[in-house]
């Protein structure tokens, strides 16, 4: 009987240890995997460090979308605007079909030292009624009716 209780305690401690271990790994990785969602204005105000992953939401400025051949291998580049501030975005390996001038866009990537945004992905949406933020507004990353 004593041996049984001992075995049980060993089990319980081992199970708890596993839980604590996984919890610790989760907690430490949560902060480093956080990607903030900002407009160009918010990015400017916060002073995002170069190299920190963020999502940038806004509109593709009219007349700014340059694509394809010239930047083959570099994807596309365009100016992302929220009506107040502008950011030059270079999107590597992007399907340009996802982007339209005057239409909203959300890109994920990092700022480089000169203030240019290097997008690693243009975030595609299932939903056609997905809306980009209005001028000056915080990006609505929810779908709207």
């Amino acid at each position: 009987m004593l041996e049984r209780i001992g075995a049980r305690r060993v089990l319980l401690i081992a199970a708890l240890a596993v839980a604590v271990l996984v919890g610790t790994v989760a907690a430490t990785n949560l902060a480093s995997s956080t990607v903030y969602y900002l407009t160009p204005t918010e990015a400017k105000d916060r002073g995002v460090n170069p190299g920190q992953a963020v999502r940038l939401g806004g509109q593709v400025k009219q007349g700014s979308l340059e694509c394809c051949f010239m930047y083959a291998g570099d994807g596309v580049r365009f100016v992302m605007t929220d009506g107040v501030n502008d950011v030059l975005v270079i999107a590597n390996g992007t399907i340009p079909g996802l982007l339209r001038e005057g239409a909203g866009a959300v890109v994920e990537g990092t700022f480089i030292a000169d203030g240019t945004f290097r997008a690693t992905q243009v975030i595609a949406k299932h939903d056609e009624v997905y809306t980009a933020p209005k001028a000056g507004a915080t990006p609505a990353h929810r779908t709207a009716p």
């Binding site: 839980a19 790994v25 480093s32 969602y37 009624v129």
Partner: protein, 665 residues
């Protein structure tokens, strides 16, 4: 009378019957009144028929482009092909809930007719729970929040057409219904668990009665998830299959708790342990399916799957809270009756491994839940909008998955209660050797990332234990019953389907793990802008751009790149395209995939000369082993079918004794 009127009327009649059924089933369970129960049965049957009629009416309205119905106008167009019109039933919220309700009504009818015969009181109470849930969903789809048959005052000339991504691949016919079936069927074990708690039974009858339902819903959920990954791979044009998107997470969480449950159930059956734990797992699984629907359908999370925001969000949240309060309340109230029949065995017993496995599955579920809900909590507290990236999930879940793979090899090899040293040696010598060979195979094929090498080693370990089990099973049958090799092998499935079907499931899981490890570790990318006649070399393939041309179809316009593939023994044509649907602002990439058992050649038309078609930018990925992911999913499904099939009646020979001797000697 139009199809829309018929459907709307059928739903209202079904609601009336469902309300009757709820009351009748409660009364019948309370008073043990067979006549009232009979009326509830009839109500369940008719309610099911009526909801099916409503769903068929919607399919008919979609197929005949009846744009006077708002849902049809929003999700269908004259140009939509018949196939995509019909599967438009689950292209958006209202239709999906209609399909959901139809499945729920089917499950309710099944319990009403089959369940109530074997264990009348428990099943009648469960029937009342099912009816209550059915009533909720029928109320939902007969109110404006999610009314599929809502009318437009003036029918438009043409509809909006289905979402571009949802009419681009036939897998859309498979993935949502499988997931919904899996989701909805978890309500059966839940209803029985609640019934058992209400009646204060404290025994295992609810669990035995719903074992098959739990297995089938688990399998459908799993196969539905794999089908979704396949759809994402074949349609979204990013060359991946899993992105830790909130909606993917919402689907995987109930699958994780459900997997934990299928294993801990065995501990309760064999050893009468973990009783309240199993009830909690069933409740958690069901609650997570509702949470998943809420996350998908309320628009609270930022996801590629978040469909339009609707009034349904708060209603589903209320439903979820009600379910949790009811279940937890019942569990606390009845906890005194849920005593376990004894202590658990030593750390090296099968039940102990199951316990560890459950701890790990819980850890996986909770960490996925944390990563999924953290952005919501952070926004509520600080107002900052953020998302949790894939790296979090990869770093947390990959170690947990590897540990689970390890336990998958250990658990079935250990006897209940505890193992001796001799048993350990006999069971694990060959698998450990196999694990070494697995690691070697990974290194030889150039798979050097540590998680991938471990996956190969553990995969080989598990496969070896399964082969060993089959070999011993066959040998035992040959000795005991004098059967031939093939007959003995087939009889393992027929006579002990649950056990050997389970091993087949394990093989499927190993295939999935190997496919994920291989494809993640060794994918090669290349991209080049080509003029017609130019070619691009990647990982032994030569991809020649033959032409780039526009293609016009009634429902869409595409730009297609004709690619001739050679090298690595391949000789085929791939046609990646950019597809423009009239209702879509942006073109949708449609990849061209040359699938193979060794690797997939994944090609994307990234850009092209819009004036003279004189060049095209082709992006390619060579993704090794990814086909094994879909195959693994299919193997899991086959294993689950074997395990769910009823065993034939036992012959006079006392087979079970022989089997126990094989596994536990």
């Amino acid at each position: 009378m139009s199809a829309g009127d018929l459907g709307a009327a059928a739903l209202r009649a079904a609601l009336f019957l469902s309300l009757w059924g709820t009351g009748a089933a409660i009364y019948a369970a309370w008073r043990r009144d067979a006549r009232v129960l009979a009326s509830a049965r009839v109500a369940a049957g008719f309610a099911f028929g009526l909801v099916v009629i409503a769903a068929l009416s919607m399919m008919f309205a979609l197929a005949t482009h009846d744009f006077s119905i708002l849902y049809v106008a929003e999700n269908n167009a004259r140009e939509t092909p018949l196939f995509y019109s019909i599967i438009g039933l689950w292209a958006a919220l209202e239709g999906s809930i209609l399909l959901w309700t139809a499945i729920l009504a089917g499950a309710t009818a099944f319990i009403a007719f089959r369940g109530t015969l074997a264990i009348p009181r428990l099943a009648t109470t469960a029937l009342a729970v099912m009816f209550a849930m059915l009533t909720f969903f029928l109320l939902l789809i007969t109110t404006p929040a999610a009314d599929p048959f809502a009318r437009l005052a003036v029918a438009p000339e043409n509809g909006n057409g289905p979402n571009a991504l949802l009419q681009n691949h036939p897998l859309m016919a498979l993935h949502p219904p499988l997931l919904y079936l899996g989701y909805v069927l978890t309500s059966v074990p839940f209803a029985y668990a609640i019934a058992s708690l209400i009646l204060g039974e404290g025994g295992d009858r609810w669990l035995v009665a719903t074992r098959r339902f739990a297995l089938i819903s688990w399998a459908l959920l799993g196969v539905g998830i794999v089908a979704g990954a396949w759809w994402s791979y074949a349609v979204l044009g990013w060359g991946g299959y899993w992105a830790w998107d909130p909606v993917e997470n919402a689907a995987i969480m109930p699958w994780l708790t459900s997997t934990a449950y299928l294993h801990s159930v065995m501990v309760e059956e064999k050893r009468s342990l973990l009783r309240s734990w199993n009830l909690a797992l069933v409740v958690a699984t069901f609650a997570l399916t509702i949470l998943g629907t809420f996350l998908t359908r309320s628009g609270v999370v930022n996801s590629v799957h978040s469909f339009s925001l609707s009034a349904i969000g708060p209603i589903l949240l209320g439903y979820l809270v009600a379910i949790l309060v009811l279940s937890i309340g019942l569990l606390l109230w009845r906890s005194a009756r849920l005593r376990d029949a004894g202590p658990i065995g030593t750390p090296l017993s099968r039940e102990a491994i199951f316990l560890f496995q459950n701890v790990l599955f819980m850890a996986a579920t909770l960490t996925v839940l944390l990563g999924t809900l953290y952005p919501l909590v952070a926004e509520a507290i600080s107002g900052a909008q953020l998302s949790i990236g894939g790296p979090y999930f990869d770093r947390v879940e990959i170690p947990v998955a590897l540990a689970l793979l390890f336990l998958m090899g250990i658990g079935p090899q250990l006897p209940w209660h505890g193992a001796s040293r001799a048993t350990l040696e006999r069971q694990f010598t060959a698998p450990i050797v196999a694990a070494a060979f697995g690691a070697l195979a990974a290194l030889i094929t150039g798979t050097t990332a540590l998680p991938a090498v471990l996956t190969y080693a553990l995969g080989a370990f598990v496969l070896a234990t399964v082969v060993q089990e089959f070999a011993r099973g066959v040998r035992a049958r040959r000795t005991l019953h004098g059967e031939g090799g093939v007959a003995a092998f087939a009889n393992l499935f027929r006579r002990s389907g649950r056990r050997y079907g389970g091993y087949v499931v394990h093989i499927g899981i190993v295939l999935v793990a190997l496919a994920v490890a291989t494809s993640q570790a060794r994918t090669v990318d290349a991209e080049r802008t080509l003029a017609p006649g130019d070619s691009l070399d990647v990982a032994g393939y030569t991809i020649r751009l033959e032409a780039i041309r526009p293609v016009s179809e009634p429902q869409r316009d595409s730009i297609v790149a004709d690619l001739a593939i050679s090298g690595n023994g391949a000789s085929e044509h791939l046609r990646p395209a950019l597809v423009q649907y009239p209702n879509s602002a942006a073109a949708v990439g449609s990849p061209g995939i040359g699938a193979g058992l060794r690797d997939d050649l994944y090609t994307i038309l990234a850009a092209y000369d819009q004036r003279t078609f004189s060049w095209a930018t082709i992006r390619t990925r060579v993704i090794p082993g990814v086909s094994w992911l879909w195959l693994g999913g299919a193997v899991v499904g086959i294993g689950a079918i074997i395990a769910a099939l009823p065993a034939p009646r036992r012959r006079v020979v006392r087979m079970p004794v022989a089997e126990v001797a094989v596994s536990a000697k």
